[in-house]
């Protein structure tokens, strides 16, 4: 039985085997296969136009408005995206190691000890304390010159992946984490303002402020005047607001934008918490895919003229992904619907 007989015997079970054809018939085949889109109904077109016009009008209003200082609270992945490849950042969010490695950076974070039950030697349950060494693994993938980092930092060595790189990925407390941040920042040449030094008690707001300073130093390079703060915990948001207050930011003229991409974070909660601490500062929050918030800010920063305060904060597109802007107090429980819960995809909250 030849191939044609096979096909006749079993119709529709073989993949389509197109004839080898000349260029003309190839062209004809492509033209003939032109996909026709489903019709765009009038309502969809109308909504699309309204969104486009509104986004344009908002941008124009903001362009004419007085400059505002932008403070943004970023998830670690976003901050890494902002800083770029081969950067070491310091954070605390679970799950950010992967975001770090996705952006080609290593994230060193304090481990959050986690207890879990495992099978004991005699078959009974045994409680084991687990430390997250994901940061070490992420670092192992992306930091090629770890020996140099080790010699400069002189860190202690806590676990095997980190040991191979000379990085410590486990830190027992926010206090130690904060100290390490300051130490690393000093090694890297960052100057930290006095208030950014971690509180000896190791509280998280101070920790947030330390990170804020790091972020500000990094972003200053991108001509974004203001600070980029990293958060991820409600108490870190307090640090964000406090840092803004320390700088003499005026309510209404200073904008804190909370950007988070971590799936277990609630930008509305973050923002509301921060706004309660410092009313008038927090103006908006954005939910973006992990790592894209930094892209948003970078776009903002690089698009503006040098030596000018940020006049425009456009969160419409982050790395091509829509950033959902939420008015304060929004409920974002339904994240599958960017248009839902009072959010829109064009930065509506910023027009307030």
């Amino acid at each position: 039985m030849n191939q044609a007989d096979h096909r006749a015997a079993a119709p529709n079970t073989q993949p389509y085997d197109p004839p080898l054809a000349a260029a003309d018939s190839i062209a004809e085949a492509i033209r003939h296969a032109r996909p026709e889109p489903p019709p765009l109904d009038a309502e969809t077109s109308r909504r699309m136009l309204a969104a486009v016009v509104a986004a344009t009008a908002r941008r124009e209003r903001r362009r004419r408005a007085a400059p505002v200082t932008v403070t943004a609270a970023l998830c670690a992945g976003c901050l890494i995206a902002l800083v770029g490849r081969q950067s070491l950042l310091f954070g605390a969010l679970p799950g950010t190691s992967d975001a770090a490695s996705n952006h080609g950076a290593a994230l060193v974070k304090p481990a959050v000890p986690e207890e879990r039950d495992v099978a004991g030697r005699n078959g009974g349950p045994r409680r084991e304390v687990v430390r997250d060494s994901g940061a070490g693994r992420a670092a192992a993938r992306v930091v090629p010159d770890a020996s140099r980092i080790r010699s400069r930092a002189g860190r202690s060595i806590d676990d095997a992946p980190a040991r191979r790189l000379g990085l410590a990925s486990s830190m027992p407390s926010p206090e130690r984490a904060g100290r390490r941040i300051v130490g690393e920042a000093a090694i890297a040449g960052f100057r930290l303002a006095p208030h950014a030094a971690p509180n000896p008690s190791g509280d998280l707001p101070a920790y947030g402020a330390a990170i804020a300073e790091l972020g500000a130093a990094q972003v200053g390079h991108a001509r974004l005047r203001g600070s980029v703060l990293r958060t991820g915990d409600a108490r870190l948001s307090e640090g964000v607001a406090a840092a803004a207050d320390d700088r003499g930011a005026a309510p209404g003229g200073h904008m804190i934008i909370v950007v988070t991409g971590a799936p277990d974070r609630r930008p509305d909660v973050e923002m509301t918490t921060a706004s309660e601490v410092s009313p008038g500062y927090v103006r908006a929050a954005a939910y973006t895919p992990i790592g894209s918030g930094g892209g948003v800010l970078r776009q903002c920063a690089l698009r503006e003229d040098a030596d000018e305060d940020i006049r425009t904060v456009d969160f419409g597109i982050a790395y091509g992904a829509p950033a959902v802007m939420l008015p304060i107090g929004s409920d974002i429980s339904d994240r599958t619907s960017p248009a839902g819960a009072g959010a829109d995809s064009t930065g509506g909250a910023l027009s307030k």
């Binding site: 004839p19 080898l20 054809a21 190839i26 003939h32 032109r34 889109p37 486009v52 016009v53 091509g320």
Partner: protein
């Protein structure tokens, strides 16, 4: 047929005036620009992305970017070409982001595909999906949107000879995926 843009002769004559008004932010002119071209842009995005939702997103992003950039639009190319360029960039961004995800078959393909004609369309479509996004874009612009090499060059921002070379290479890649070595 050039896309689905409804540009009549009268429309072509008044286009420069409308574009000038749009550059000044005149709402009616902006609306005219959107109404005139959004169908064609949506069709291009759909042909590149295969998903109506993605096509809608890309279309909206295209016009947001276009309206934002209008003040700097010098008019070196036609508005249509300029919009195609922005839309192509938006669609490419989505395609690259989707790189690791399996490509979807267009919904029309998932329907009855036993007819010979439908089989050929499905084979072409499958070959297109297997192509690199930038080469797929060129074939789509040339064969589906019926852009000339000059226009493709303007959309891609390359020389005409470079556009011709890219078209040739895209055709060769398509043929490899479609039926064999060229």
């Amino acid at each position: 047929m050039k896309g689905t843009a409804t540009v009549t002769l009268a429309g072509q004559l008044e286009e420069p005036c409308r574009v000038a008004a749009a550059r000044q932010g005149e709402p009616a002119a902006l609306e005219w620009l959107f109404q005139t071209y959004h169908g064609a842009i949506y069709a291009l995005c759909y042909r590149l992305l295969s998903r109506p939702e993605d096509a809608e997103d890309a279309t909206q992003a295209t016009f947001v970017a276009a309206f934002r950039s209008l003040p700097t639009f010098r008019g070196d190319s036609s508005v249509r070409t300029w919009l195609y360029r922005i839309a192509s960039n938006e669609a490419m961004t989505i395609l690259r982001r989707r790189r690791t995800a399996p490509a979807d078959a267009p919904r029309e393909e998932l329907q009855d595909n036993r007819a010979p004609d439908a089989l050929q369309r499905a084979a072409v479509s499958a070959a297109m999906r297997r192509m690199q996004p930038d080469k797929r874009l060129i074939l789509a612009l040339h064969y589906w949107e019926e852009l000339s090499c000059d226009e493709i060059a303007a959309v891609l921002g390359v020389s005409i000879s470079a556009a011709k070379m890219r078209l040739k290479r895209a055709r060769e890649e398509f043929q490899r995926h479609y039926g064999g070595e060229p």
